[in-house]
C-alpha cells in the first residue's frame, strides 16, 4: 500500500505544472534552494564563532536563549507557507483502504517536508562545532535530539492550528508582544525559556520530554485528522458570507470604473491578491534600510533612487508584475466580453498608477530624513508611473502562469511566473533609472540628475497612447498562447 502512495506522490511531483517549466527556471530554483542551504550551513558553522567573537557569552547558551524565537519563526513560516496534506485525500476516501492508512500517509508526507529537514542544515553543523569545542558529546547529542523533536512538534502544531487563523493571530500577537517587551526592556521572556533549553543541553535525559510531547502531539493530530476526514468537515472548503458591494463612487469613470471596482473586489476577496497588497505595503518600509544608514553599502546617492523606485513601487512590483495572471481564472470571459484590449490594458495601467501615487503619498513620513529622501521617493514614483507601469504590463503579456486566487499558500514560493523575457524586462525597471541618475550626475549636480530621472518618467507618460497601442499589439499576438496556458491550471 505504502509503495502505491509513494509512487502516486512521485508522479504528482514530476508531473506538476510547476515542475515542467523550462530549464532556466529549474536552474534558477536550484540556485535559490542552494542559497538557502548555504545560508543555513553558514549559520550552523559560523554562528558559534560569530557569537564568540562578539563576546556575547557562551555561544551555546546564547543560542539557547534565543531558541524560543527560532521556534516561533519556524511555526510562523510553516503556517504561512507549508501546504496542508488534506487536499489530495479526497480521491482516497472511498477506495478500499483504511482511514488510518490514508491519515498516516498524509501525515507522513509532512514529516519528510522541506520545512523539517532544512533545519538539519543548521543544527547538524552547529552540534558538530559544539563537540569539537569540547562540549560533552552526549549532552550535545541529547540537545540535538531534543531540538529535532521540538521542530517536529512544530510540524504537528501547525497541522492542528491550520485554518484556525484565530489561534494563529493570537500566537503572532503574543510573540510580537513578548519580542517587543524584550526589545524595550520591559519583560524578558527568554529568562524563562532559556533554562529549559540549557537543561536540554546539560542533561541528556531531558530530551525525553520533547520526545514525549512529540508523541502526544502526533497522536493528537492523527486523531484530529481522522475525525475530520469527511467532505463536510475537515475537507470542506471554507465558505465566506458574501455581501454585494457597489462602490458606486467609481461609476463616474465609465468602463474604467467598472474594471477598477472589479480589481478592488479581486484584491479584497482573494487571499493571494491580498498578500500582494500587504507585500506592497511592506515595501514602504524598505527605504528605512537606505535612509537610516543602517546598511553602509546603500549610502551612495544612486541607491536613493533605487530606494525610491521600491518604496513607491511596492504595489507595482507585487501586483502589477502579475497582470494579467490575476484574471487567469476568467480570461476567456475577458477576451470575449464587450471589452477592447485598449480598455482592458488601460484599466490595469490606471490601477497601477493610482496605487503608485498612493504609495508615494504614504511615503510622506520619509520627509523626516530630509527633503532629499522624499524627493527620491517622488522621483521614483514618477518614474514608476511613467515607465515602469508600462513595463510591467508589457512583461505581463509573457507571463503565462495562471494564478490560483483562492490559495494564499503559494504566494512566496510561486517562482514559476518568472521567465527569461520577464527577467529581461526587470532590468530597465530598476537599472535604467539608476543609470540615468548616475550618467547625469557625472556631468551635472545631483539635483539635475534627480530631475532627469523624473523627466524620463514624464516623457514616458506623454507617449501614453503610443505605448498602449504597442502593448495592445503584443497582447494580441500572445493572446491565444495565454488562453491556452491559463487553461492548464
Amino acid at each position: 500500500m505504502i509503495q502505491k502512495f509513494i509512487s502516486l506522490e512521485w508522479k504528482s511531483f514530476i508531473r506538476a505544472a510547476s515542475f515542467q517549466t523550462n530549464l532556466a527556471m529549474k536552474i534558477l530554483m536550484g540556485f535559490g534552494a542552494l542559497y538557502f542551504i548555504a545560508v543555513f550551513l553558514g549559520l550552523g558553522f559560523g554562528s558559534f564563532f560569530i557569537i564568540e567573537k562578539a563576546e556575547l557569552g557562551d555561544p551555546f547558551e546564547v543560542v539557547n536563549r534565543y531558541m524560543i524565537y527560532y521556534l516561533a519563526f519556524d511555526l510562523f513560516f510553516r503556517y504561512s507557507l507549508q501546504k496542508m496534506p488534506v487536499t489530495n485525500i479526497k480521491p482516497f476516501l472511498y477506495l478500499p483502504m483504511t482511514k488510518n492508512q490514508v491519515v498516516r500517509f498524509s501525515m507522513g508526507k509532512t514529516v519528510v517536508s522541506f520545512f523539517n529537514w532544512s533545519h538539519a542544515f543548521f543544527f547538524l553543523p552547529f552540534s558538530v562545532v559544539l563537540i569539537t569545542k569540547d562540549y560533552d558529546p552526549i549532552s550535545v547529542l541529547g540537545w540535538h535530539i531534543g531540538m529535532a523533536a521540538l521542530i517536529y512538534c512544530n510540524n504537528f502544531i501547525n497541522l492542528l492550528i491550520n485554518n484556525k487563523s484565530g489561534v494563529f493571530y493570537v500566537f503572532v500577537a503574543l510573540v510580537l508582544g513578548l519580542g517587543a517587551g524584550q526589545y524595550f526592556g520591559y519583560f524578558d521572556m527568554t529568562l524563562y525559556t532559556a533554562p529549559f533549553f540549557n537543561w536540554l543541553g546539560s542533561s541528556p535525559v531531558a530530551a525525553l520530554l520533547p520526545i514525549a510531547l512529540l508523541l502526544i502531539l502526533s497522536r493528537w493530530a492523527f486523531a484530529y485528522f481522522k475525525k475530520y476526514m469527511y467532505l463536510d468537515a475537515g475537507l470542506a472548503s471554507k465558505q465566506e458570507v458574501a455581501s454585494t458591494q457597489e462602490y458606486a463612487f467609481l461609476n463616474r469613470f465609465g468602463n474604467l470604473g467598472t474594471f477598477l471596482k472589479n480589481d478592488i473586489r479581486l484584491i479584497l476577496r482573494n487571499k493571494r491578491a491580498k498578500m500582494a497588497l500587504y507585500g506592497g505595503f511592506f515595501f514602504l518600509f524598505y527605504g528605512l534600510l537606505f535612509f537610516t544608514g543602517a546598511i553602509e553599502v546603500y549610502d551612495g546617492p544612486v541607491w536613493k533612487i533605487f530606494a525610491g523606485i521600491f518604496i513607491s513601487g511596492g504595489f507595482l512590483f507585487n501586483f502589477g508584475q502579475f497582470v494579467p495572471s490575476w484574471d487567469s481564472a476568467y480570461y476567456p470571459l475577458m477576451m470575449s466580453q464587450n471589452i477592447t484590449y485598449q480598455d482592458y490594458i488601460k484599466s490595469k495601467w490606471y490601477l497601477i498608477a493610482i496605487a503608485t501615487a498612493v504609495s508615494t503619498l504614504l511615503a510622506l513620513p520619509y520627509l523626516y530624513f530630509g527633503l532629499n529622501a522624499y524627493l527620491a521617493v517622488l522621483v521614483g514614483g514618477v518614474y514608476n508611473i511613467g515607465i515602469n507601469a508600462y513595463l510591467v504590463l508589457w512583461g505581463g503579456a509573457y507571463i503565462k502562469t495562471p494564478i490560483d486566487l483562492a490559495s494564499g499558500k503559494k504566494a512566496f514560493g510561486d517562482k514559476q511566473s518568472f521567465n527569461a523575457k520577464t527577467l529581461l524586462l526587470t532590468v530597465p525597471k530598476i537599472l535604467l533609472p539608476l543609470a540615468i541618475y548616475w550618467g547625469v550626475s557625472l556631468v551635472a549636480s545631483d539635483e539635475v540628475a534627480f530631475a532627469s530621472v523624473a523627466v524620463a518618467g514624464v516623457l514616458g507618460y506623454l507617449f501614453k497612447n503610443k505605448v498602449f497601442a504597442l502593448i495592445e499589439k503584443i497582447y494580441k499576438t500572445e493572446k491565444y498562447k495565454t488562453l491556452a496556458a491559463y487553461k492548464q491550471a
Binding site: T258, S336, Q337
Partner: protein, 262 residues
C-alpha cells in the same frame, strides 16, 4: 449572420475541426451535436476568438472574427466556469456584465426579474460568492448573464448539463423564445439529443471534426439522430443503452410538468 468557410483547426498533425462551409442565418436556433472530441467546443471557441483558426475564417455580421474585435458588442456566450468571476456575488457579476454592455443596473434588474423562476430562489440574495455556488447554479448565472444587453448571437456550450430537470425544461422554453421572438441567433451544443431536437430548428452533427449531418429539425429527427449515433458507436452496446436511459429519463421529465411553469 455567421459564415464559416474553409475553417480548420489542427494541433500538430491532428485535425480537430475541418468545416468547408457552414452558414447560420440570423434568428436561427442552431444545435450542434457530436460525441466527445467531435469539435463542438473547438468550433465555439473559434467563434469567440479564443483559439486561432489554422486555416479559413468565420465571418459574423460581416466581421472577420480573428481579425477584428467588432463582433464583441453583439456576441455573448457561456462556455464554462471560466466565464464566471468566482469572487463576485451573482448580482455583482450581472451588473459587471451589464456595465460592459452598456446596460444600466435598473435594466439588469428588470431582466433578472424575468428569470426568477429559472433561478428558483437559489441565486439572488444568497450572500454567496459565485465560487461557492453549486455547479448547476453557477451555470444558471452564466447562461442568464449571456442574455444581458440584447446580444444578436448567443453561444451556449452544453447548457443542459448539470441542470436539474425543472431548470432544463425552463431553459428549453427560454432558448426557443429567444430565437423565435427576439430574432437572436442561438447556438447550442449538447450531448442530449432529445433536448437539442426540441429546442433547435436546425441540427448539425460533427464527427471527429467533420460536418457529417445537417438536418432541419422535423418530428423524425430524434429517431434519425439516434440511429446515426448507434451506428457510430459501432456495436459497442454501452452507447445504445445510455442513450436509451437518457431517453427514458427525458420521457419522464416531459410528462412531469413543472409545478410553477412560467
Amino acid at each position: 449572420m455567421i459564415t464559416a468557410s474553409q475553417l480548420s483547426k489542427t494541433y500538430g498533425d491532428k485535425t480537430v475541426l475541418n468545416i468547408d462551409h457552414l452558414e447560420i442565418p440570423k434568428g436561427q436556433s442552431f444545435g450542434l451535436v457530436g460525441n466527445n472530441g467531435a469539435g463542438k467546443t473547438t468550433f465555439f471557441s473559434l467563434l469567440l476568438d479564443l483559439i486561432e483558426p489554422s486555416s479559413g475564417q468565420i465571418v459574423s455580421n460581416e466581421v472577420v472574427i480573428h481579425q477584428s474585435e467588432k463582433w464583441k458588442p453583439f456576441t455573448a456566450a457561456f462556455i464554462d466556469e471560466s466565464f464566471l468571476i468566482g469572487y463576485l456575488t451573482p448580482e455583482e457579476y450581472f451588473y459587471f456584465i451589464g456595465e460592459l454592455r452598456g446596460v444600466s443596473k435598473a435594466d439588469v434588474m428588470e431582466l433578472l426579474s424575468g428569470f426568477e423562476d429559472f433561478f428558483h430562489g437559489e441565486i439572488l440574495d444568497q450572500k454567496k460568492y459565485l465560487r461557492d455556488l453549486s455547479k448547476g447554479n453557477q451555470k444558471k448565472v452564466g447562461i442568464v448573464a449571456s442574455f444581458i444587453g440584447k446580444p444578436e448571437v448567443v453561444i451556449l456550450d452544453e447548457p443542459f448539463a448539470n441542470l436539474d430537470p425543472t431548470t432544463q425544461i425552463r431553459l428549453k422554453g427560454i432558448i426557443k423564445d429567444l430565437a423565435a421572438t427576439s430574432g437572436v441567433t442561438v447556438l447550442v451544443s449538447s450531448h442530449d439529443l432529445q433536448h437539442v431536437t426540441e429546442v433547435c430548428e436546425r441540427i448539425v452533427v460533427l464527427e471527429k471534426g467533420q460536418l457529417v449531418k445537417d438536418i432541419k429539425t422535423a418530428p423524425a429527427t430524434l429517431k434519425e439522430l439516434e440511429a446515426y449515433f448507434s451506428g457510430v458507436a459501432d456495436g459497442t452496446a454501452s452507447h445504445d443503452t445510455s442513450s436509451d436511459a437518457a431517453d427514458l429519463a427525458d420521457g419522464l421529465q416531459n410528462t412531469d410538468a413543472p409545478p410553477t411553469a412560467p
